[in-house]
Amino acid sequence: MSSFPITQLGESHSPEQHHLLKIENLHVHYGSICALKNVSFEIGCGHCVGLLGQNGAGKSTLLKTLAGLNRKISGIVTWSGRPLSEAKAEIAYLPQVDRIDPAFPITVKGLVELGRYPHLGPRKKWRSLDSAVVEAALEALKLQDLAKRRLFQLSGGQLQRVHIARALAQEAHVMLLDEPYAGLDEPSQDFLSQLLRDLAQNGRLMLVCHHDLKAVPQLFDTVLMLNRDMVAFGPTAEIYTPENLGKTFPGRREVSHV
């Protein structure tokens, strides 16, 4: 499980300068409610970033904004110097797994095929290249044997892998994952954290919402701490301090000993 043959999908990954996610002074409002303010950071590929904060701190809002789901934002968000709306294929959004109806009439392979949508051109015609990319994505996540299964026949960990395979088939450089560890047993959590690290090492940028604080230094090389306002951003070793945790989780006691 140490490495995945996933580098070969799509064009080779260029140095970090070309694949840079840049956010300047981002504010997001829902009606009169301010969900997120003063968020500014920039980061290139090759990192696994944990978004930390309480419920309602703006983690999901930030992911949705990067996925292009919030239209009314102020601030500048660019990927490789271009606005996000021009980079739909580059960014894969993976909502919480329980948002997806397990009874939906689709197989594992069918779900992974959905990832090809942004590449299909205006007439949405399926090509042999698309089949090849889907096969490679299934293989990379060792899902070939499950390809014909329905979603309700999968465990939580397998389901998470299927969604990541969909993002691989999309050939996305940025993957936005909302609470991927929620509801997974320990072996699946370990498998997933290894997988996310491998994907980052293979030149992707992983942005992961996370609410459990125990394993943060093992899971993420970079953290973004949010409390509606941006508390801190940077390498986990420098930023993940009791002081910042206190600001991110005011009133929560067990964080002080981390």
């Binding site: 689709i106 197989t107 949508y117």
Partner: protein
């Protein structure tokens, strides 16, 4: 055995039921997978004020007047639901219930203003043998519009049904599809009124897909097979209702209901 087809009204009924069965069955897949089954029942109630108003304004009942009236009120209720749900931070079902019950109440009051008219009954419970050529032309156009939109935007629809937020992140025009689906639902509902009436029309959308959902694992196949099931059931229903001399609309729905029950009992267990 098939000599009932000698009559022109039976031929028209057969054409209509094949078309309506197919387009409503196919569109019904979208309705079911979007979990809108109750929405379609609610919308069918909202047709009443439009039909009543049209009768009041035009002083009588004919297919075109009924069609325009029903279309108008259902579109108003359907599209404003999407709008109200968005603006008012209400969930879709709450917004719809507020609007359709209000519309239905308005329709009841309007009915008191017009002299009782037997033809209204055919709009509520369907009268497929009373179809005229104009009705058939309306059915043709609506069915082809629905099938064209379903085939043309196939991949958009599937992503949209799967998870709207994922679809939107990939550039699928989700809010446009929301309005489009509501608009198509209303159109299909109004055209199926003649066949099965406002009360039973929801069944024509929901039951074919609900039946096949137990067997088919691909949204695309589900769409076309649901259409085929709707058509075949319609064909059999026209024949049965002629042989037994009973209502076609009710026969059709009962037949579909039996298909569902059968498939529920026979389908492989999860």
């Amino acid at each position: 055995m098939f000599d009932f087809l000698d009559y022109a009204f039976n031929q028209r009924a057969l054409c209509a039921v094949l078309l309506i069965g197919f387009s409503n069955g196919a569109l019904g897949t979208l309705v079911v997978l979007r979990k809108n089954a109750l929405v379609i029942s609610a919308l069918s109630h909202s047709l009443l004020p439009g039909i009543a108003l049209a009768m009041l304004v035009f002083g009588g009942m004919n297919p075109f007047v009924g069609f325009v009236g029903a279309l108008f009120s259902a579109l108003v209720v359907g599209l404003s639901t999407v709008y109200v749900a968005r603006k008012g931070m209400l969930d879709h079902q709450t917004a719809l219930t507020v609007l359709y019950t209000t519309a239905f109440a308005g329709g009841l009051l309007l009915l008191d203003l017009i002299p009782r008219n037997v033809h209204l009954e055919s709009w509520l419970f369907g009268n497929i043998l009373g179809l005229r050529n104009l009705d058939l032309w309306i059915s043709y156009s609506v069915s082809f519009l629905i099938l064209f939109v379903l085939a043309w935007h196939r991949r958009d629809w599937i992503l949209y049904l799967f998870e709207p937020s994922v679809a939107a992140s990939m550039g699928v025009p989700v809010s446009r599809l929301n309005y489009l689906l509501t608009g198509l639902m209303v159109l299909a509902l109004v055209t199926s009124l003649q066949a099965v009436g406002a009360v039973l029309s929801a069944a024509l959308f929901i039951i074919p897909t609900a039946t096949l959902l137990q067997w088919i694992h691909s949204p695309r196949k589900l769409i076309w097979c649901s259409g085929a099931l709707g058509s075949v059931a319609g064909l059999i229903a026209v024949a049965l209702s002629n042989w037994w001399n009973v209502q076609t609309g009710a026969t059709l729905i009962l037949l579909l209901g039996c298909c569902f029950l059968f498939s529920l009992l026979v389908a492989p267990k999860r």
